[in-house]
């Protein structure tokens, strides 16, 4: 098994790589973690991770700038149906469109737009930065064994925008920030976390290890 973490110049790539390595080791999985900008490696990987930090449009442009990468992602994820995990803006890129600063086309895997968070409580700050709990709308294998809900574990968020999905069933988990904010989406073999599993201590490592074992 080989997890390819896509290197397209965005994201805290070292943290992500180290967290995946640690999760694989702790779960006793014979699973290689590779940080790569090579579309061929991505196309042939058993699992694909798309990190991303920054603005939607910049990340999309960064992804397009790696020759053949979008095609490789489509091959691995759409044709082969291999497990995919997007993180933060990597998750947002799964949407139809991003509306941050300008309108940008996404990968179209989760129908819906990425829009500014607008908390009902005006005293809440944007970006949302910090730890919040998750409410699962329905069970998902990536949350197996992870305590969620008000008394559950926390996830680390740092974002101003979130994915407003058209299909309610695509939203696996929400967090409350002056109203529900999309925290985790999934559709078939494609999953995405708005929070940062690689920075979310226990919850994050458990989710990553579930992803490495995932057989959608």
């Amino acid at each position: 098994m080989l997890t390819a973490i896509v290197d397209y110049g965005s994201g805290n790539l070292r943290s992500a790589t180290k967290a995946f390595e640690r999760a694989a080791r702790e779960a006793g999985l014979d699973h290689q973690i590779v940080l790569t900008a090579d579309p061929e490696v991505v196309a042939s990987a058993s699992h694909i991770v798309l990190p991303g930090v920054g603005a939607y449009a910049d990340c999309r442009a960064g992804l397009n700038a790696v020759d053949g990468m979008v095609e490789a992602l489509r091959e691995a994820v759409e044709v082969k149906g291999n497990p995919f995990l997007g993180i933060c803006v990597g998750m947002q890129l799964m949407s139809s469109r991003g509306l941050e600063k300008t309108v940008t086309e996404g990968l179209g895997w989760i129908k819906g737009d990425v829009v500014l968070i607008e908390p009902e409580d005006a005293s809440l700050k944007v970006p949302q930065i910090g730890w919040n709990t998750l409410t699962l709308n329905h069970p998902h294998p990536l949350f197996d064994g992870i305590p969620t809900g008000v008394d559950g574990l926390h996830a680390y968020f740092v974002h101003s925008y979130h994915l407003k999905a058209e299909r309610a069933e695509d939203v696996v988990a929400v967090t409350d920030y002056g109203g529900p904010v999309t925290a985790f989406v999934a559709h078939d073999n494609k999953a995405g976390a708005q929070f940062h599993p690689e920075k979310s201590q226990k919850l994050g490592l458990a989710l990553i290890s579930n992803f490495l074992k995932w057989k959608p």
Binding site: N12, L13, R14, S15, K18, A19, R22, V53, G54, A55, D58, V89, S123, L124, K125, V126, P127, Q128, I129, G130, W131, N132, T133, T135, G149, V150, L153, H154, Y156, F157, V158, H159, S160, T175, D176, Y177, H196, E198, K199, S200, Q201, K202, L203, G204, L205
Partner: protein, 264 residues
């Protein structure tokens, strides 16, 4: 269910070692930053802050190694500041494993740099670190001004206006340090913290002056900060991070009290 207030231990780092001064003089060596980071991770710190206090002069590259080694072991958010002056500096820190960078003197000297950094890396990863002192006299309307270079250089810039301007430029968070209070253990400057927190839409981290756990409660409850930063009270074991978080929770502040993780 709500976003929790954060407790952030700050490690002042010089030549790859942790130090903490009283009002930025009389530095005392308090150990290896990576060991300290692991200990804070295990203790349930919500985020770590490294401040490279000699970054503008010598041994600048030591901080990249500290950040990288921390990222190898700690799966928690890390903010790094000190001597951040170019897009290249930011990129190197983020690649080493930092999640956010804090910009201090460079934001004062060249506000365009904050815009450039926010455009490049996203607002959420740009923290502007504001060091200020109260300049109004007792009886006058409160006025704070920006100081740079560890509090030595006055700029004459009014702090609240500056804070608003930095947010317009794209700062995703403000780290607000009262240079009057730093090292004094008499509590955060609540007037300063609250005035700025209420004036901007981004999160504010209160810093400078923590001497006891009530001060941390006050920073959130009265200062309207969303995070509190402290150094010596944690480094010298006066209080543990866990104690601080439990105390704040007992005083009505929503805190993350997950069973702590452990560093690898």
């Amino acid at each position: 269910m709500t976003l929790k207030a954060r407790v952030i231990p700050c490690l002042d780092v010089k030549d790859g070692r942790v130090v903490k001064g009283v009002s930025f003089v009389n530095l005392i060596d308090a150990g290896d930053p990576v060991d300290a980071a692991k200990a804070y991770d295990a203790a349930g710190a919500d985020e770590l802050c490294f401040l490279d206090i000699t970054a503008s002069s010598d041994n600048r590259d030591t901080i990249f190694d500290v950040v990288a080694r921390t990222a190898d072991h700690c799966f928690m958010p890390v903010t790094v500041g000190g001597g951040v002056r170019s897009v290249g500096d930011i990129r190197k820190l983020l690649l080493a494993g930092a999640d956010k960078v804090s910009i201090n003197s460079a934001a004062v000297q060249n506000p365009d740099f904050v815009s450039e950094a926010a455009d490049k890396f996203g607002d959420q990863c740009i923290v502007v670190s504001i060091d200020s002192k109260k300049v109004s006299k007792p009886g006058e309307t409160d006025r704070w001004e920006i100081f740079t270079h560890g509090g030595r250089n006055a700029t004459g810039i009014e702090a609240v206006e500056f804070a608003i301007k930095m947010v317009e430029r794209g700062a995703g968070e403000l780290l607000l340090t009262s240079m009057d209070r730093d090292g004094q253990k008499s509590g955060y400057d609540i007037g300063l913290t609250r005035t700025i927190a209420d004036a901007v839409h981004v999160p504010v981290i209160a810093s400078g002056g923590v001497g006891n756990l009530d001060h941390m409660v006050e920073g959130i409850r009265d200062g309207h900060a969303t995070a509190v930063l402290a150094a010596s009270i944690f480094h010298f074991g006066t209080y543990s991070v866990g104690e601080a978080k439990r105390y704040m929770a007992e005083h009505g502040i929503a805190m993350r009290l997950d069973p702590p993780g452990e560093a690898a």
